[in-house]
Symmetry: C2
């Protein structure tokens, strides 16, 4: 998506549809945990009994997109066969088993005799979800939304139009048989609507983008609604002077090669000058064997790296078997390089020195800071969240891999017996502030 696109004013049709979701979300926020769980099962059942229609619709989309010249990588992401669909439906049922993120009391305090304050988690309201290609995202996001008590306005890519329509139709059919309002979920179908969604500040509480870095960056640059996600994932591994070289190499290889297209794969390896020669002696043949092409700064080139890294390499997310290497004179230089170029996703240090580790952990302001392990662990499922809504690289919470808790907020409930502030100002009553 080009960054210069003009965002159109929301059409009255979009406003009507968004209002329906907003109103449904008010009722949904009052549904109990059991009602939301049952709704997920009803959604899963409805999907199960519509698998043929859904796969047929997907075949249509694939045929159309092939004709339109969509490349193979995108076609494979677009494809939703029975197997993929069954797995997605299974995931919906698993989500029902996760602990309810709503109604959790985060604070319970007696402010004064008879005056009680509670801070309780509540749904955000309405999610605006914009995703590319992968139609299984519809199932995942819709079920995450209902589990967390949120309405969702979904906008998928036009190449998956028929599949998305079949999916949302089944999901709404399921909701209709549950106590969660059917209108909690709606699908937008035109590109124009998708863009206007970014302007619905009063109706949409959070935008969740699923797609390329370009899509995410475009959305971040064109909306005032909070966006949960990240554009780049520029992750680093710094190998300190006091280190187990073999272990460090295993971490480096895993961080780069285990799945290079992932956002948590490293793009840059920083080497302390003391270990750079011996490390590269081991690492260069190992990376070559893995098919990794390497660029490096001047010092690493003297140690055998054959291609030159220029300034732009330090801020490029290759998403591929390519790695940039830099030799640094100190941990301070490594930290300062990371603070400058990191996208604040995940950065790691390999060291045997506890002081260096501590310094690194406190000074690198990324959402994940790792010691002696692969950056590839940055993931909601690996963290044990049971679901991942997205990975956020912003400074404010929620950041890092975000589970269901990223789809909730809280409200302060204050319950009194006619309490008024004048009585406290006059000294007639006083605050106790007892946590309960």
């Amino acid at each position: 998506m080009e960054s210069k696109v003009e965002i159109p004013i929301p059409s009255s049709e979009l406003l009507i549809r968004a209002t329906a979701v907003k109103q449904a979300s008010v009722l949904l926020a009052q549904n109990t945990d059991d009602q939301r769980k049952s709704a997920l099962f009803a959604m899963a059942d409805a999907l199960s009994s519509s698998t043929n229609e859904i796969v047929d619709a997907n075949q249509e989309d694939l045929k159309r997109s092939k004709k339109a010249g969509l490349n193979n990588a995108l076609l494979s992401r677009l494809k939703l066969d029975h197997n993929k669909l069954d797995n997605s439906i299974k995931a919906v049922r698993q989500l029902a088993a996760l602990e309810d993120p709503i109604g959790i009391t985060q604070l319970h305090r007696e402010l004064s005799n008879g005056l009680y304050l509670k801070r309780i988690t509540v749904p955000l309201g309405v999610l605006g979800v914009i995703f590319e290609s992968r139609p299984d995202a519809v199932i995942q996001i819709a079920s995450l939304a209902i589990r967390s008590g949120n309405g969702a306005i979904l906008k998928g890519g036009s190449e998956a139009k028929f599949t998305n329509e079949a999916l949302v139709q089944a999901l709404r059919k399921g909701l209709k048989l549950s106590e969660v309002p059917e209108d909690s979920i709606c699908l937008l179908t035109t590109r124009k609507e998708s863009l206007s969604l970014l302007k619905l500040e009063k109706m949409v509480d959070l935008i969740v983008p699923r797609g390329s870095n370009e899509l995410v960056r475009f959305i971040q640059d064109n909306t005032r609604i909070p966006v949960l996600g990240h554009a780049d994932g520029i992750c680093h591994l710094y190998i300190d002077s006091d280190v187990d070289l073999k272990q460090a190499l295993e971490i480096a290889i895993d961080s780069k090669c285990q799945y290079p297209a992932a956002c948590n794969a490293i793009e840059t390896l920083l080497l302390h000058e003391n270990i750079a020669p011996s490390f590269l002696e081991l690492a260069l043949p190992a990376f070559k064997k893995k098919g990794v092409s390497i660029v490096g700064d001047e010092r690493s080139q003297k140690l055998g790296v054959s291609s030159n890294a220029d300034e732009s390499d330090w801020s490029t997310e290759y998403l591929d078997l390519k790695l940039a290497i830099k030799v640094v004179p100190s941990i301070e230089e490594a930290i300062s390089h990371i603070r400058r170029y990191s996208s604040r996703h995940t950065d790691a240090i390999a060291t045997n020195n506890q002081n260096s580790a501590q310094k690194f952990l406190l000074s690198v302001d990324s959402s994940g800071v790792y010691h002696n392990c692969s950056t590839r662990f940055a993931d909601g499922f690996r963290y044990g969240f049971g679901a991942e809504v997205g990975i956020s690289t912003q400074t404010l919470p929620p950041r890092g891999p975000v589970g269901l808790e990223g789809l909730v907020t809280y409200r302060y409930f204050l319950q009194g017996e006619g309490h008024i502030v004048s009585d406290f100002a006059s000294g007639e009553k006083s605050f106790t502030h007892n946590d309960l």
Copy 2:
């Protein structure tokens, strides 16, 4: 401030100063709780030994501003006498006594044997603070920042220029005697710098505005940096049909009159039609006695309200002894009015009916939702936070009255022994996800 002002590109001088604060903040993040506490005492001591210079500088500002025709309300906010200053210094020492918001472990989990995940609170980094008139805000914000491990770039109004300079000079003198870097705090002095501050996305992590609704709205509209604060405070009290009329009236009077210029005072009173006649019979003379001028919808005018409320009244924050009244046929209508016009600050219901209360509490999506008590309780000190950074009306956390926790974020620390994801993908190792 006009909303059409062009935000200037940050000057190199501003960039140099902001970089110094950013770099200081990296060191500050490594200071211990005791070091930050001692720094607060040093700041308080330095202020104490400079009170004469500060009060003299304030006299200069007052003289200048009087000449320039500043109105009395603003002059009184600008004034910083020995008494006010002593109280501010006392508050700095009290802040040191608050529990450290940094280093709190929010999650501690074994992901697998030898692989440990911790989520720990850390400072945000650098706060950009823009405030009007009240120079005591400098002391409060600077000490909140240091307590929470954050650097702060401060920009005050030009009318308080000399006072602010004297204050920051003293604060930095205090820091110099402590282990917290002196550069953690800096003061910007020109309006141009203040505006450019809004563009320093890479250097400033949170903007904290202190001032008029216009100032806050201007800032929200002109920066991509997160803003902690609220523009309007349009709060409601709804009086249900099943209610203790006398108690409800006391709550209404307190909510409107106890301090009408506060953001948590009500602007609109919604009355269930069943109690409207008897309530207004009691309330109209009571409000008159308190000097409250009242406007109302057609139905309330039939019950004795003498002036007409037009559409704009429902979205006006009077900040004054003025109240708009509307008669509604049901709690649903009250909720829908509130959802439409509320600024999501604080809204209250007076009712004896638990079902109505529950419905109200779940359906009104404001950051504070109250039952049988005054909206004036919405305040960090009354909530027992010991400090208030601001009140946020956004949907995402932090919202409502925000204490020190609003100035911190968290980081995921993962500590391994050479753990790599391949071993988990191959099934050689498995996740345990044991909370510790």
